[in-house]
Amino acid sequence: MKEAVHISGVPSPGPDLQELMVRVARGDQDAFASVYDAVSGPVLGLVRSVLRDPAQSEEVAQEVLVEVWRTAPRFQASRGSAMNWVLTLAHHRAVDRVRSAEAAAAREHKAALLERMPAFDEVSEQVETRLEREQVRRCMRTLSELQRESVTLAYYRGLTYREVSELLSVPLGTIKTRLRDGLIRLRDCLGVSA
């Protein structure tokens, strides 16, 4: 596995993830194992940042990874990278879970959501992850406070923009705009193209 500094795009560690996905789409289980190794860390980390509960996070991560296998034939490389596709799926599933009725009841107090704002608290040994984390952290600092809070609460905590608006006592329209211009600033800072 090469250790590269990724300037733009989502890195695909090891063998090319796009090619592997083509093989997975044809039912290749060995290729899926390689895809698993590339994506499972980000999937679990993301799901866990939203759900917090370790057991529930593993359960959702498992569902997501099996869904990657099941729906791989529908993956279209022309629409974006495999890593994007997988992480978008993972985020959706995590957020679906957090918004489901039983989870809502157990949802933590709002104040607690705000306290844990910086979501980069776990330690990782992986160089690629550390670099990625550094870059995201640096770019997050270029955001205004409201942009950063809005994006963080929506993405890492899975709140709807209405919930973000209530939590921060800021009008809905402002939150919508901040989510967009915050992401645009991040996109430019991270050099993302699609």
């Binding site: 795009g9 989502v10 890195p11 789409a25 899926f32 194992a33 698993y36 190794d37 499972s40 980000p42 679990l44 980390g45 993301l46 991560a61 498992q62 990874l65 099996v66 296998w69 099941r70 034939p73 529908r74 629409r79 974006g80 990278s81 890593m83 994007n84 992480l87 978008t88 985020h91 959706h92 980069f120 776990e122 990782s124 992986q126 992850t129 990625e132 984390r133 870059q135 995201v136 952290r137 929506a154 993405y155 899975g158 709807t160 973000v164 939150i175 919508k176 705009t177 989510l179 967009r180 211009d181 915050g182 992401l183 645009i184 600033r185 991040l186 996109r187 991270l190 993302v192 699609a194």
Partner: protein, 250 residues
């Protein structure tokens, strides 16, 4: 939801921060809005980077469970026969101004304010080929990160939206359901420089829905007005304005 607001939902959508009903409505909107789709792709890719930044090691047992489970899970059929979004529009990777204007007009329809007619969009797209450069500028204003929007009801059920980008120093006026001007007349748009009217161009007399890049810089103008003028326009207004709109403030 006001006219151009739907386009600002690209960020919330990319972060999956829309409630389900709004998410579905926005997805319908995306079907017809290539500019929004492009932005959503970019912002989703950006969000994925945020996901990548919180990666953590996953336990070996999870790997075993997943690899065992997939041996019993049937894969879905590939997606084919799907409607190709780009058909008929050319795959240039750039959005035409009118495609974006169509988005915003579609946004107006979503808000229950105006109805966008497909034919109008079609015509607009053809015109777009003839006025590509102007359209690109128009698109730049509409998609500028600092674009601000304000909408108001005009006379006769029409609705006007003005989009101003301070960084571009340009403004765009979007009209929906405008009654045609009297025969031999045109609508002329003016910048309002503290009561002094500075011509900002003519509207297309045939279109009831139109997107106009205002001629010249916004500079100190605090708003815009529309008057009915003889065909070809006038150097200064010769009639009372049929509409006056303030520019959105920051």
């Amino acid at each position: 939801m006001s006219t151009a607001e739907l386009h600002t939902l690209t960020g919330a959508y990319a972060l999956h921060a829309l409630p389900e009903s709004e998410q579905r409505a926005f997805e319908r909107h995306l079907e017809d809005c290539e500019a929004c789709s492009q932005e959503v792709r970019e912002l989703s890719a950006t969000a994925a980077r945020l996901g990548l930044a919180v990666a953590e090691p996953s336990p070996r047992e999870l790997r075993e469970r997943v690899l065992r489970e997939i041996t019993t899970v049937r894969q879905e059929a590939p997606a084919h026969g799907r409607r190709e979004r780009s058909s008929g529009r050319g795959r240039t990777g750039r959005w035409s101004g009118y495609a974006l204007a169509a988005c915003i007009a579609a946004a107006a329809a979503f808000g229950g304010v105006a109805v966008w007619q497909n034919q109008v969009a079609q015509d607009a797209r053809q015109e777009a080929n003839q006025a590509q450069r102007q359209n690109e500028q128009l698109a730049q204003v509409l998609s500028a990160p600092d674009a601000k929007t304000s909408s108001s009801e005009l006379t006769g059920g029409a609705r006007g939206t003005v989009v101003v980008s301070q960084s571009q120093n340009r403004a765009v006026f979007l009209a929906a359901n405008m009654a045609p001007p009297p025969s031999g007349k045109v609508y002329q748009i003016w910048f309002n420089d503290e009561g002094t009217m500075r011509s900002a161009g003519l509207m297309d007399p045939k279109a009831s829905d139109d997107a106009v890049l205002l001629n010249g810089p916004v500079d100190q103008a605090s708003g815009m007005g529309i008057t009915v003028e003889p065909a070809g326009g006038s150097a200064e207004p010769t009639s009372d304005p049929v509409a006056l709109m303030d520019f959105p403030t920051a």
